[in-house]
Homo-oligomer: 364 residues x 2
């Protein structure tokens, strides 16, 4: 079977990497012929909206998927008229717009922080009445890794932030006092079967994921999270892997956002689970049965941001597995990660400490 | 660091596959530009003895290794004058010649079946006196997967087999009454550190590896095997992964042969051990610390020979991981394998049964 991937970043790379042993042929569309996925798959070079390039991808594929949710939704629609697209464009469309995303969560009784659309000074004032202070002002579209958002602590802050973020097409969200950030990665097959990985705990730094601990220590609301994901997947008639990011608060969970794709907080599954999120995404979109999502033991993933550490230093940590994405270093850029596995949580803690130290020393 | 691999078969492919996440650049030399490794690495197309091609590989590499032991030893010598070669040519030279191999085993007090060189009718008669009957007549060189060998049950059989196998440059080996076939895969680092995987049990069919069970049930002579491998590695001042195949008999082990490379009976380590044999080979030859060789639980590997089963059928077996080498099907050819993991040996047995059934149905 032939799989087309729109986007050749590290997610596309790891998808292509997982596809080959399954006997799948992969073609990747990316604006750069040196994209990380180019190491593992033939490339079609073009913008995500380029009909010529998309047409060539459709011709080369039996099913098309995405490593990136901010593909123009009309491009995804156009593609869907020509080839099977999984997950479907609706999931992309909703995930691209924070208002649509929050509305869908609300419609599905998935709790979210109070929010309101902001398009001018007046709607900002109304929104502040909904959310209270502090709050977070975000662009409705194209935000990622903490980009396109400002914490606001006063009405003046808020108006300044509005201008900084472009004035219009924004969302104001109430500030969530959370105990921890968790996420749930799950796969849904064509027949509706859902296989969810254990909940994981995420630590962000400067808005970028720094460390994922898998599985998370059991929380009081874990069952709620599973039910939220199941509702979301069914509502979207979703096929593939999805990630739902949640805040765990004293009184329950709040959904933050979902990603209609494999997710950084699921990278630990390559070594830490029976089946990786990448393989399960491919199994789902090609109509194969899903693989087991059980964790093999405790593990943690640490991102390398802005600079890659020395491979030998990582290799010296027992149970550490390096993933270098082959990207050019740039401050704040995700260049790779390592997953460390262990037999016990104590052993893991020592290893994660060593790994984080090396990661932080290399980080820029 | 830049790694050159002589040979682009499935072993070269899985080495290249393991190299990229470690940030290693890989170039592969193979006679075919469509070799299995071509999916993951740039190729230099040429014969293994082609000095021009070998020179280009040396130029493109900081260290060169092999996916195949039957590279002409003078080519390996030639290469070693130009670039670091690991393991060194001596290991290849010994492994290429069954007489040299058996002599080295004997010199290291590693027990082997009685054997003698056969080059004509007269040396065959002498050899039969050494080995008794039944015995196995093999070519000294270039045998693999049961090719180039005949079981002989009488002196007449033996003479016929001698003619069939080319008349000269043969070895007659005493027939070993073994309880089981086992192998030990181990890695040795530049500083002499050795990391050995647990012993595994191998089932062959028609001379080709069919199934590996990892770890093997503990045997009475396991400590001997570890000591044999350690002696062999030290004697060869070996760097990289080696595999030692042994027969377990009632009164102790007999060494059959060693492979100076990653080995089919080590494929289970991709999913079944903390660090795969492919990663450990690369760690060793690039001077990184070796990774842990602990098994994560019971696992088994089944080869797909002559025909690939349906990927979805494999995916339906819990804990099964497919590896399609992307090769053209041909009777008797290794086209792929699957490793199946489980929590318990009973669970594993059920899964291996299902896997073998599918493998055998597809096999040609």
């Amino acid at each position: 079977m032939r799989v087309g991937i729109v986007g050749g970043g590290q997610l596309g790379r790891m998808l292509a990497f997982a596809a080959r042993p399954l006997g799948l042929e992969v073609t990747v569309l990316d604006a750069s012929e040196d994209a990380p996925a180019a190491a593992f798959a033939p490339m079609i070079v073009g913008d995500f909206g380029d009909r010529g390039a998309l047409g060539r991808l459709a011709d080369a594929s039996d099913v098309v998927t995405f490593d990136f949710e901010n593909v123009p939704a009309d491009a995804a629609d156009w593609l869907e008229e020509r080839v099977c697209v999984r997950p479907g464009p609706r999931a992309l469309r909703v995930a691209q717009d924070r208002i649509a995303e929050k509305s869908l969560f609300t419609a599905l009784d998935i709790p979210v922080a109070p929010y309101a659309a902001v398009d001018d000074t007046r709607s900002l004032t109304d929104a502040l009445a909904v959310t209270g202070l502090p709050a977070v002002l975000k662009t409705r579209r194209l935000g990622y890794d903490g980009k396109g958002q400002c914490v606001v602590r006063s009405a003046e802050d808020a108006e300044r932030a509005r201008i900084t973020l472009g004035g219009t097409d924004l969302i104001l969200e109430g500030f969530v006092q959370f105990d921890r950030e968790v996420s749930l990665v799950a796969a849904r097959a064509i027949d509706g079967t859902v296989a969810a990985y254990p909940m994981v705990e995420n630590l962000h730094r400067d808005g970028i994921l720094h460390t994922t601990h898998a599985p998370a220590k059991p929380g009081r609301f874990d069952a709620d999270a599973s039910s939220f994901v199941a509702h979301l997947l069914d509502e979207l008639d979703y096929v593939g892997v999805i990630a739902l990011e949640l805040f765990e608060c004293a009184d329950g969970l709040r959904a933050n956002e979902f990603a209609p794709r494999v997710h950084n907080s699921g990278h630990w599954t390559i070594e830490g689970a029976v089946t990786s999120q990448f393989e399960n995404h491919l199994r789902a979109i090609t109509g194969m049965p899903l693989g087991e999502t059980t964790a093999l033991g405790p593990s943690a993933m640490v991102n390398f941001i802005g600079g890659m550490p020395d491979a030998a230093a990582i290799a010296a940590i027992p149970g550490a597995h390096l993933h270098d994405y082959g990207k050019t270093a740039r401050p704040g850029r995700k260049l790779g990660h390592a997953t460390v596995t262990a037999m016990t949580r104590d052993e893991l803690a020592t290893r994660v400490h060593a790994l984080s130290k090396i990661a932080d020393a290399a980080s820029r």
